[in-house]
Subunit: 485 residues, 4 copies
């Protein structure tokens, strides 16, 4: 991979940012610089918005069936160049190849759903709402939308939004994470070269905080989709509140996994290990805290420990690696401080990933699988999102106690239960206040045709990402009442 | 009607506010004081929220079918006491009896829709989202919601929200307008006495600005529905953005009515007069600006003038009256200044309602039907919401010109066209950026089973009022992914 | 109750049949004649159809909102006269009062769903299916529909159909069972007196085979809904096939209940006993065959036997009775022959209800709770529908074996499993070919807002009874494609 | 094109029929034999059904997402080989290349809709239908389905059914028309070679009447979709009624086109000519009878005559041809007799296509564009479906008269109106009893995501072809009621 400077993609042109500020993009597995990313200015965001605004009317009047065909083509292109994209992501984000594959597969699944836009964007009709008066509702796009997306799923997250918005007839500006913008660069190169949306329909602007402010403040942007930490989610939600925009903000998470005494450990442990350490714990669906109910605590803990020890840590680009580095030295430091804090607050560090070394990759931002036992609510590592390969284990006496822990936590993204009992599963899904629920599934990621998003401190807004539901975010339901006679 | 002090209804008790601040409630038709309303404190709002929070879990676990039955009962009660409520509204808000009837009818229609909650709140299911993995989404309520509602439809607007929210399993706090709180007082007396929701399920707190701030700031309120002016809508939207709440704000409007040269004037004029002067122009669906296309201008203007002159202005409680007073002396003054401004800016005042006298009601806040001809975009009366019985007439050369006027206005609530041509109607509904559209209908008010709300400066949020759509605002769609095998 | 001759209700008039053929209606608890029912002629069916046809256009052009209001009223009336109807049903059909209450409650629930018809009958809309071409689908009623309903739920079954059809704008002819027509007589008296549908909108014709043929053969009837035995269901399905009508036929059932070794017997046994002996086994959701998996067989059998012995058999009209008689002497004889056949084929008759005596009701058609153990597939009592208080018990080795028994049976109406295991429940619901499934529920009767009906030999057609689904049966989805520009 | 014998495609093998009966396939443009088609036996149908039955369970347990991917691939393949297929169809069916292209495009659109199957086949869910009892409905496939399809759209019609059925998890047997089976042969060669459904999932059996009987009679076929003449539709509907199958039969049509005095003739005439003569009138959406309202009769008639005269008739495989031959000498004869009959009954033959000659193609089955003026209801050519290039013109006095003609006709497939008036369009669509309605569109063919089918004598059944609606035909909605607690 060349040392490239990431460009903006505006109005179907690849343009270099005129920003004076640039950040290095590093390979998390080596620490080596692999590119540079501009922190585009508000002016550059404005150019993208102008292009999108300019493209809007023609695109909006293109029939949905025709708009959908671009997405059938997009699917083909992404399938064709699947492994090319995967490689970039694994270098860019430090993910294992399988992790990169999984998120590209998800991205494609979004495109697949969007191919059904003619059915999905239908409105309703009723004859004779009163004598001789008929009523029809029709979904119309609104104009320019934008998404601000995080580093941890550099391929997938932009696809949660822009294909839906664009299929509905809107135009779009994507701002990928400045920490791993290379993935969207290659994807949009393919889009530009092989899919051929009309100029301005979808645009990419790279940048940081200024670009974010420019987006939330731009009068021509009708709505903003954000995925990132809860802190920034709150800021973006508030900023869009000030400017009167539509907004949906997916924030952080603390995902508890309840393991009941009747759980099948053989199936539970691999699922849990995968859920805890996949993407080095950097995902809002990471299983970060196991709540063992009753006596299963000891065998579960032992089995988790044994399994976690076997995880092969290393550069994601190698095929047999099971866990890659975290995204940056700063983030590594942040995770390490959480581990220190856990020790300090009295949790029992039964597996310590702080000193992990990967031969030949000494500059990489690796942290080994880490496990704390004896975690209790109130400890920092029990309450806050660590976003690293750190798994806590709590022990409680009953399912009710477990649910109580979940209710009291500030986040409400996802949670899971491992049990063989129908009753426990129902009690859990009925009561626990999280929006994505797994039963014997460690990562409760809804498929593209269901909505993704949480509640409480994990989500701000009312319409979540993807699924048929998100169509409502990207359209205005116009109601037409007609009397002819 | 006695001079009563309006109380709060909290936890199924009628409680007097301890607030030191009270406002007089006046009869707009006489100016006489008919009651007093407290400006409840943040603490009192808090008590209502606490009651609602306390009632929440039991209500949420009541089956939807059972919750619906309260609404079948509510419908019966409202039908039974229909005229009693109507009388209160007509005194309280200065409306004609027919206007009060119409909005109570609408309120009942909301209740009717809500009776179907078991069908309306269904989630989705799909077997085998992957091998042996099933997915179900289920709508769960969220907790306590609140609505802040305006004076112009004191009966109906609270019903746009609370029945939907409560039927979904949430609990609720209603803050009616402090200008005419008597209508909700009588309605909630009936609810308390004859419907019997469990204590705390629905509560009423009277008040002003402080109560609004208390609502937008209260950490236990999950979402806020607001209807009022765009200025306050923006403030509430922003305040909820700051506190991370769900929010839907319906603001003001400037509703243009396009009359095409081929329109049937015989049907158009009465519809227009009704749309312009109903509720003395105090409605967000008021037809406030007629855009005459081409030569229809003159006959239309003449016919409107003739018809407007015939409107019987007087106290709404008398059966033969066609237009009542506006809500308050302050508001009367505001409308009069708009008329002055119109004259000042050069519009042609062809009917002047400023000096209207209603015998025996000299203290009433009456304004007579007013018409400006020669209005042009850019004039204050062309661009701003007047919210009084003032109709402007513009003349343009073509449908495209008319649409252009609409696009450039800041509001986007409703608009209508009068035409016999299918092509003109389609062009108009396709292009004009307003969310509620009438074809040969002056007031494009969607029925309860369709959504109500606008776009641009008339609406802040993404989910509108009532209809099946609002269920999404009042529920969290929990996604449950299950593997048993 | 007087000895009354049941009349037909045609065009809002109560008319005596001119048929020469009459049947006695007997009180199943005493054998005493309590009324007479005419076997109306084809001509009389024709008169009802003519009335319905005549009423059609005005009713079809009545707005759905207005049509719905008749059903709000109907709900009120049925609630008001609840116990009056219940008493008639218990005499007429021999049911316990609680059974009569349960089915009237269900009937009302149908009416409740139908109140939501404006939402339920909406069509779809899409703008720009091609450039400048829009498409809207709208559901229109079709004309006259008819239902032919069985004796076992004389209150409820007609309500599965006619309220849905009529709310959609169709008109209707109901033919109740000639064995217990008194229930619909009282219900339609209430409808005529207190609801006031326009004349001809809904009509009742009493009769037998000739009336059925007249219905399936009448050219003006657009569709037929039938509930009864599978034999007659096939005949009606075929007859409507010949005349090209829409048709949905719900037939008989053999409902297997699988009890897993991990089932909670304390909850299972009462549920099972209720499911087996409710309505004296005369229901298409009766649990007629228990499949005990593994060692639970013995304790389950013992508990069932003990519980069945305690059932209080007697006239349904007495409050403390748990099981009433069967409908007729002929049917009693039929059930007894099945018991004889079971003995003959080698099943183990562990509880014999053949000789039951109810003091003071020697003429009643009582059969006591009956249990066969040692039933195996291939025995007549294992394969056929008995429709009486006869419960068979099989023993199998595994859930797969149990599912295998179900798959091989000709019927596919309902089935249930009792288990605490999520995995067993999922395996079962995924595989067993029945359309209504209970998990730890003995009678898997879907609520009114879900569809009711089976598969295999239990159902002929594609659209089932009630739920939002049945709207498709009662409407034609007209698709309107429009180009104006 | 070689003289090939069409084979059956069973269990992913191409097999030659062992039937002794063969028919010649002729090129309608030359009369030359281009292949032979076997009239497969009931036994061969049985083999296909067995293969489908065998394939069923594995296919049904394949996740919908995975099943959908075969259809994304199928779309790609059909796009890639678009022109290859088009050429075969134009020879096989005598269509113009553009006509063949149009129907292949429609076939692909079906595949596009089917790609959305995960969203389309979702069931519903509701928590707490009673306390602690939840209800979920899930759509499950049923087994083997079959379609019997006509010659006039040899490409498209099979795609109305099998992709939907198969995407839902069923397996399938297609029986194409024996008159032009070559199109499906090439399509299924592509499917077999490039898409790779598992063996037995979709099968093709060629044949005639015996194959039809074998299909309607086969106990393992769960449902039959038929498109053809109303006579055969009735026979198939009846046959499936006898065997208790699901069935949907699309029959013939007599499509009236109303032209109002205010219609824009410049746009109307080309649309009408295309609608009347496309596919040489052999389509169930053919505009076969123009009803001119009032004085537009004369100019319309003149313009139609002028336009019809200019139609270039010839072999469909040549690029500049506008109308090809009819399918067979027998059918040509049938159409000619209708023309004779029209003359005989007194209609005014203003354009006579009987003697048309196409140089170099004297053996082709050509009929030239034909127009009758002065047609009146009651004439054979006014009432019956001709299915050839014969357009009748009626004159009536008013829209009501026109609607009256439509209502009295036995068919109810499609109808159109040409008008500029919104009121006329609404009156027409509200009243005329046809299921597919065009406003200023001559061929009201709903897009793939809306349903296709008629009413009255044009359709037998309740669920129509394609659209989201047809999913109900191909699935059983299983309702699962669960109590865990």
């Amino acid at each position: 991979m060349d040392l490239k400077t990431v460009r903006n993609y505006i109005n179907d042109e690849w343009v270099e940012s005129k920003s004076r500020e640039m950040l290095d993009i590093t390979d998390p597995a080596t620490g080596g610089v692999i590119g540079r990313v501009p922190l585009s200015t508000a002016g550059e965001v404005g150019e993208a918005v102008d292009a999108a605004q300019e493209a809007y009317w023609d695109w909006r009047t293109t029939p949905p069936v025709t708009r959908a065909r671009y997405f059938y083509k997009l699917k083909e292109v992404l399938e064709d160049k699947f492994e090319d994209i995967v490689k970039v992501t694994s270098i860019d984000a430090g993910k294992t190849l399988d992790e990169s594959r999984a998120e590209l597969r998800r991205a494609i699944e979004m495109v697949e759903v969007v191919c059904g836009i003619p059915s999905l964007m239908m409105g309703d009709s009723l004859e004779d709402v009163a004598n001789n008066i008929d009523c029809v509702s029709t979904r119309q796009p609104l104009g320019v939308f934008a998404a601000i997306t995080p580093y941890n799923f550099p391929t997938m997250v932009p696809f949660w939004f822009w294909p839906f918005a664009v299929a509905c007839g809107n135009t779009f500006v994507v701002k990928p994470s400045e920490q791993d913008p290379l993935t969207q660069e290659i994807i949009f190169e393919l889009i530009a070269d092989e899919v051929g949306f009309p100029p301005g329909v979808v645009n990419v602007v790279n940048g940081g905080k200024d670009a974010v402010s420019a987006i939330t403040g731009h009068p021509d942007i009708k709505g903003v989709s954000f995925v990132g930490s809860s802190n920034v989610a709150r800021i973006v939600y508030k900023a869009c509140g000030e400017t009167g925009k539509r907004v949906q903000c997916l924030g952080g998470a603390k995902n508890f996994v309840v393991v009941m005494p009747d759980a099948n450990l053989e199936a539970t442990v691999p699922a849990l290990v995968h859920a805890a350490y996949g993407c080095a714990g950097q995902r809002c669906l990471a299983a970060s805290e196991v709540i063992a109910v009753g006596d299963i605590h000891k065998p579960l803990r032992d089995a988790l420990l044994a399994a976690a020890k076997k995880i092969r840590v290393g550069p994601g680009t190698e095929e047999n690696i099971q866990m890659g580095p975290v995204i940056s030295p700063e983030h590594k430091q942040r995770v390490l401080s959480y581990i220190d804090k856990g020790v300090e607050e009295g949790a029992d560090l039964i597996l310590d990933g702080r000193g992990v070394k990967v031969e030949g990759h000494e500059g990489g931002y690796f942290i080994g699988p880490t496990i704390f036992d004896g975690v209790t609510p109130g400890m920092t590592i029990a309450d806050e999102e660590i976003f690293g390969p750190v798994l806590g284990i709590m022990k409680v006496g009953s399912l009710d106690d477990a649910i109580d822990v979940i209710q009291k936590n500030n986040y409400g993204n996802a949670t899971c239960i491992f049990t063989t009992s129908g009753a426990s599963a129902r009690e859990f899904t009925y009561k626990a206040e999280c929006s994505m629920m797994g039963i014997n599934i460690g990562i409760a990621a809804p498929m593209a045709f269901f909505p993704f998003g949480g509640t409480k401190g994990s989500f701000f807004g009312d319409i979540k990402a993807h699924g048929r539901e998100v169509i409502d975010f990207f359209t205005d339901k116009k109601v037409i009442i007609t009397r002819w006679i």
